[in-house]
C-alpha cells in the first residue's frame, strides 16, 4: 500500500467511525444501538481520540442512557460529561463578563454559535462543550467593541483597523483565562452584507447567560446561522454541526420558519449551500419538509451559486475540495456589500482576498497562489 493509499484508507475508516458515532449519539432505538455496537467494534479506544469524537461523547452518553446501555466505556463517557460541564461553567463566566463589558459601552451584541446552542438547545450544560464565544456586533461598533474588550483584558494583537472592518468579518480575541472570543461584525463569512446581517438581527431574542441578560438568535436564526455560518467544511467539526442541527430541529420543530429560511437563502444566493446541508440532515432522519428542499433546488442559478455547486459537488476527495475551497472567495466577494466600480473592482477584490486569506499584504497573493497550485492542483508540477 502506498502512502497515498494509506492516507485514503485512514480517512475512509475515520469517516466511517464518525458516521457510526453520530448515528449512535443522535439516533434512537435499535438503529442507534446497532450503530453503537458497530462503532465499538471499529474504534480503537487505545489510540488517540480526535476532537470531534470527544465532542460527541457526552451526547453519546445521553443516548446510551436512554437505550439502557451500561458497559465498560460508560464511566469514562460520564466523566467526559462532567468535564464538559466544568469547562462550560468556566467559559460562561468569561462570556458573561464580555457581554456585560460590551453592554456597558453601549455596544449592541448578539451571541451565535456554540454558546447559545449549548445553553438554549441542549438539556443541561454537560452535553455540549462550548469551544468559544461568538459575539456579533454592528460593523460601526466593531472597533469600539474590540477596544473595550481589550481594556477588559482580552488580548487581540493589533487594534482593529478600518480596512479590516471593511474587508474582513471577524477578529479572534483571547481572554484572561485563555477563553477564545470571536468578535464578528457580519453574521456570515459567505455573505458579509448589510442586508444579510439585518435579517439575522431581526431574529434576535433575549436569553439568560449565567444569570445576566444577553441576546441570541431565535431557533430559526440559530439553525440558519449554523447551516450557513461556517463555509469551510474542512475546518469545522462535521459531526458536531449535524448533531447541533438535529437537536435544534428536534427541540423547536414547531417554531422553525422554513419559508423565512428559503427566502433568506434565495435573497442572498445561498440556496445551493443550504440545500446541501438540509439534504445531509434529511439522511439522519431530520424532518425537513420536501417542499423546502425542492424550493431551494429549483432556485435559478447565478455565478456565486454556480461556484458553490462546483465546490460542494466535487467528487475528487479532500485534496480537490481544498483546492476548490480556496477559490470560493470569489463567490463570497460577489455576495458581499462591496460597491467598487468596474475599474476598481480588481484592486478591491485583491484586498478582499488578502484579508480573507489572512495575508499581511497583497504582494503575498501570487506566492500563495503558486504554492497552492503546486500542492493541491498540480502536485507533479515543478
Amino acid at each position: 500500500m502506498t502512502m497515498a493509499q494509506g492516507r485514503a484508507e485512514f480517512a475512509r475508516r475515520r469517516s466511517q467511525e464518525q458516521e457510526l458515532l453520530l448515528r449512535a449519539a443522535t439516533g434512537s432505538g435499535g438503529e442507534a444501538l446497532a450503530a453503537y455496537k458497530a462503532w465499538r467494534a471499529h474504534v480503537d479506544l487505545d489510540a488517540a481520540i480526535d476532537h470531534e469524537t470527544l465532542a460527541l461523547m457526552p451526547l453519546l452518553y445521553g443516548s446510551l442512557q436512554k437505550l439502557g446501555v451500561d458497559d465498560s466505556l460508560s464511566g469514562r463517557l460520564k466523566g467526559i460529561c462532567r468535564r464538559t460541564w466544568y469547562g462550560n461553567q468556566t467559559f460562561l463566566r468569561g462570556a458573561r463578563e464580555a457581554v456585560a463589558c460590551l453592554a456597558e459601552a453601549g455596544v449592541e451584541c448578539l451571541l451565535v454559535g456554540d454558546l447559545p446552542i449549548a445553553l438554549t438547545c441542549y438539556e443541561g450544560l454537560s452535553t455540549r462543550g462550548i469551544r468559544r464565544v461568538d459575539a456579533v456586533v454592528l460593523p460601526a461598533q466593531a472597533q469600539l467593541a474590540e477596544g473595550r474588550l481589550r481594556a477588559a483584558g482580552w488580548a487581540a494583537g493589533n487594534p482593529l483597523r478600518d480596512e479590516e472592518v471593511a474587508y474582513n468579518h471577524v477578529k479572534r480575541l483571547t481572554g484572561p483565562a485563555g477563553q477564545v472570543l470571536a468578535l464578528h461584525w457580519h453574521f456570515l463569512q459567505a455573505a458579509s452584507s448589510e442586508a444579510a446581517d439585518r435579517a439575522f438581527w431581526a431574529t434576535g431574542e433575549a436569553f439568560i447567560l449565567d444569570g445576566g441578560p444577553a441576546r441570541c438568535l431565535s431557533p430559526t436564526g440559530l439553525l440558519l446561522h449554523l447551516l450557513l455560518g461556517d463555509s469551510h467544511p474542512e475546518k469545522s467539526l462535521p459531526g458536531l454541526w449535524i448533531a447541533d442541527a438535529l437537536v435544534i430541529i428536534g427541540r423547536a420543530a414547531e417554531q422553525l420558519d422554513w419559508s423565512r429560511m428559503i427566502g433568506f437563502a434565495l435573497a442572498h444566493r445561498l440556496a445551493v449551500r443550504l440545500e446541501r446541508k438540509l439534504r445531509i440532515l434529511s439522511s439522519y432522519g431530520a424532518p425537513i419538509p420536501e417542499s423546502v428542499v425542492r424550493a431551494l433546488r429549483e432556485a435559478r442559478t447565478n455565478l456565486p451559486e454556480s461556484i458553490d455547486a462546483m465546490v460542494l459537488g466535487s467528487q475528487g476527495g479532500r485534496r480537490k475540495r481544498m483546492a476548490l475551497w480556496r477559490f470560493d472567495v470569489l463567490a463570497d466577494y460577489l455576495r458581499s456589500d462591496r460597491q467598487a466600480g468596474l475599474l476598481n473592482r480588481p484592486a478591491d477584490f485583491s484586498h478582499f482576498v488578502r484579508h480573507r486569506w489572512g495575508l499581511s499584504g497583497r504582494r503575498q497573493l501570487l506566492p500563495v497562489l503558486a504554492r497552492h497550485f503546486r500542492r493541491n492542483i498540480a502536485p507533479g508540477w515543478p
Binding site: 479506544l45 487505545d46 481520540i49 470527544l54 442512557q65 465498560s72 464511566g75 469514562r76 463517557l77 460520564k78 466523566g79 467526559i80 460529561c81 462532567r82 468535564r83 460541564w85 466544568y86 469547562g87 461553567q89 468556566t90 463566566r93 443541561g124 450544560l125 454537560s126 444569570g211
Partner: protein, 149 residues
C-alpha cells in the same frame, strides 16, 4: 431544633447527571461531586427541605439504624457548609425555592453514607486525557499508576 439550608446560588453552579450531583464553586474553581444519598440531599436542599424532613425521608427509605443516617447526614451537611456550597438559613427565612427534583429512593436500595468528593487541583485535572488517563469511573479520577503487580 430543625435546621434549614440553601444552596449558595450566586457562588455555586450545579447540575445532576444521572444520579450524581456535580458542583463548582465559582470563586475558587473547586469541583465537587456527590452521588447516591449525597445527591438526594443536594436536590432536597434545592427543594427547600429542612434537615429533619430529609432525615425522615431517608429513615423511611432505608432499613438501617436511624443514628447512622443522622450522623452521615450531619457530617455531609457540615462538609457542604465548610466548602461554602450551602448556607444555613434561619427558621423564619424562606430558602430560595429550587426546581422540583426527581428525588425518590429506589425500593430495596442499600444505605451508604453520603460523601462529598472535593477536587481542588483543577488545572492538572483539566489536562487529563478523559479516555486514557482516568479510572474506569471517568474524569476527574486520575488513573492510578504503579498499583499493578
Amino acid at each position: 431544633m430543625d435546621r434549614r439550608f440553601s444552596i449558595n446560588g450566586s457562588a455555586v453552579a450545579s447540575e445532576v447527571i444521572d444520579g450524581e450531583a456535580i458542583m463548582m464553586h465559582q470563586a475558587s474553581g473547586d469541583y465537587f461531586s456527590a452521588d447516591g444519598v449525597g445527591c438526594l440531599i443536594w436536590q432536597w436542599i434545592g427543594d427547600g427541605r429542612s434537615r429533619n424532613q430529609m432525615l425522615d425521608l431517608l429513615k423511611q427509605g432505608f432499613a438501617c439504624e436511624p443514628a447512622e443516617i443522622e450522623s452521615g447526614v450531619d457530617s455531609f451537611l457540615a462538609d457542604l457548609l465548610s466548602h461554602q456550597l450551602v448556607s444555613e438559613v434561619g427558621e423564619g427565612d424562606d430558602p430560595r425555592p429550587g426546581p422540583v427534583a426527581k428525588t425518590s429512593i429506589e425500593p430495596g436500595a442499600a444505605y451508604a453514607p453520603p460523601v462529598l468528593s472535593v477536587y481542588s487541583d483543577m488545572r492538572d485535572l483539566l489536562l487529563l486525557d478523559p479516555i486514557h488517563e482516568v479510572e474506569e469511573s471517568g474524569w476527574p479520577t486520575p488513573k492510578q499508576t504503579g498499583t499493578e503487580p
